[in-house]
Symmetry: C2
C-alpha cells in the first residue's frame, strides 16, 4: 500500500498559511509523514463567495482579531512577525514559481515558500513584485531571472490554474487547508488533526 502524503494547500497572501509553512515540516517529520506543497490562489475562490478582498478586510472585527491572534501565535511558535503595510499582497508570481518548483521536484521549494512568507509577514517586502521574487530565488542560490521567466510560460500559468481548480474540487474555501486521503482539514490549528487522521488511516 502506498502511504499518502499530507497535502498542504497554501496561498502566499494568507497569514495563517505563513504559520503553517514555518512549522509543518517539523510536525510532519515527527509523525513520519511526507508533505506535498500545493500552492493555489484564494482570489478566484473568494470571488465566487462574493468578496473582492480578503474577508479580514471585508469584516473589520474579524480582521482586528486576526492580527492580534497572529501576534500571539507567532510569539507562541517563535516565528518572526511584523504586520505588513499592505494586506493582502498579490501572491500570483510566487505561486507560479512554487508550481514550477513543484512540477520539477525542486528541493528548494519549501525554503522558497518560507522565504516568501517571511518577506511578506516579517520583512514587509512587496512579494507581488518580480524584483523581490528574483531576489529571494537568488538568495537561495537559484537563478532568479531564469526561473521567474520560466514561471510565466503559458504552460506553467496553466499549472497554477489547475491547482486552484483542484482546490475547489476538493472543497477548499480557505487557507491553509490539508488533505489526507481525500479528507479535508482547514486552518493552521488543524495540522495535528490531519496528522492524526493520517496515522489512523495508515495504521502507523
Amino acid at each position: 500500500m502506498t502511504v499518502p502524503d499530507l497535502e498542504f494547500w497554501f496561498e502566499f497572501g494568507s497569514t495563517y498559511s505563513y504559520l503553517t509553512a514555518c512549522r509543518i515540516e517539523d510536525v510532519a517529520h515527527i509523525a513520519g509523514v511526507a508533505v506535498s506543497w500545493r500552492p493555489f490562489l484564494l482570489g478566484p475562490i473568494f470571488k465566487e463567495q462574493g468578496w473582492d478582498d480578503s474577508p479580514f478586510n471585508v469584516y473589520p472585527a474579524k480582521g482586528r482579531y486576526m492580527w492580534r491572534d497572529m501576534e500571539r501565535l507567532c510569539a507562541k511558535y517563535g516565528v518572526p512577525f511584523a504586520r505588513p503595510s499592505r494586506f493582502p499582497r498579490d501572491g500570483l508570481l510566487a505561486a507560479r514559481v512554487a508550481c514550477l518548483a513543484n512540477a520539477e521536484f525542486e528541493p528548494w521549494l519549501p525554503d522558497f515558500v518560507r522565504a516568501v512568507f517571511r518577506a511578506n509577514f516579517a520583512e514587509d517586502r512587496e512579494i507581488g513584485d518580480d524584483v523581490e521574487i528574483r531576489s529571494i530565488l537568488d538568495e537561495l542560490g537559484q537563478p532568479g531571472v531564469e526561473i521567474v521567466e520560466r514561471a510565466q510560460t503559458p504552460e506553467n500559468k496553466q499549472r497554477l490554474r489547475n491547482h486552484t481548480q483542484r482546490a475547489i474540487e476538493l472543497g477548499i474555501f480557505g487557507a491553509p487547508s490539508f488533505v489526507v486521503s481525500g479528507e479535508l482539514f482547514w486552518g493552521n490549528d488543524r495540522v495535528e488533526d490531519a496528522l492524526a487522521w493520517h496515522r489512523a488511516k495508515t495504521g502507523t
Copy 2:
C-alpha cells in the same frame, strides 16, 4: 489581586459552541480557572456583517466542511452528535433563560446550557419552542413554566440585549469566544490558548 474568570461567550445556534460547552468545565478545572457563562445572540452581529443567515448556510463549501469537521471533533471528544434537521435553530428563549440563571447565580446554568445544546445537536429537538425549554428545565428539577415566564420579562429581555451589546464592544464576531482580562480568543480550538493566557497573566 482578584483572579479573573474565563468568560465563555456562546450562542445556542452555534455548532462549535456546543463542543466547548461540553468540555470547558473539565479543561478549566484542570487549569484551576473559574468559568463565566455568557450567553449572547449572533443574529444581530451577523446582520451588521450583511448576513441574514448562518455563514455556514451563506457559504456552502464552508458549511459542508463544518458539518464534516463537527462529526470528526464530536468523535474525538466523545460527544454525541446528529446533524440537526434545521440549522440554525433560534436560541433566543434559551439565551434568555441562561441570562436569568446567570443574573441569579443559579448553579444549574451549566447543566441547562449543555442540555439545550445536546437537544439541538444530538437529539434534533426544536430548542426554539417554549415546550422544549420548559421540558429541559423540568428534567433538571427546575420549575419550567415559571422560569420561562420570568425569562420573558422586559427586564430580562434587556439583560440579553446588554450581553449582546457587550459582546460587540469586546470585538466578538463569532461563537464560541473567550475573554481573559480583556484578551479575546475565538473558536473552540482556542480554549487552551485562552487558559494559557490566563496562566501567564496570573502567574499561577
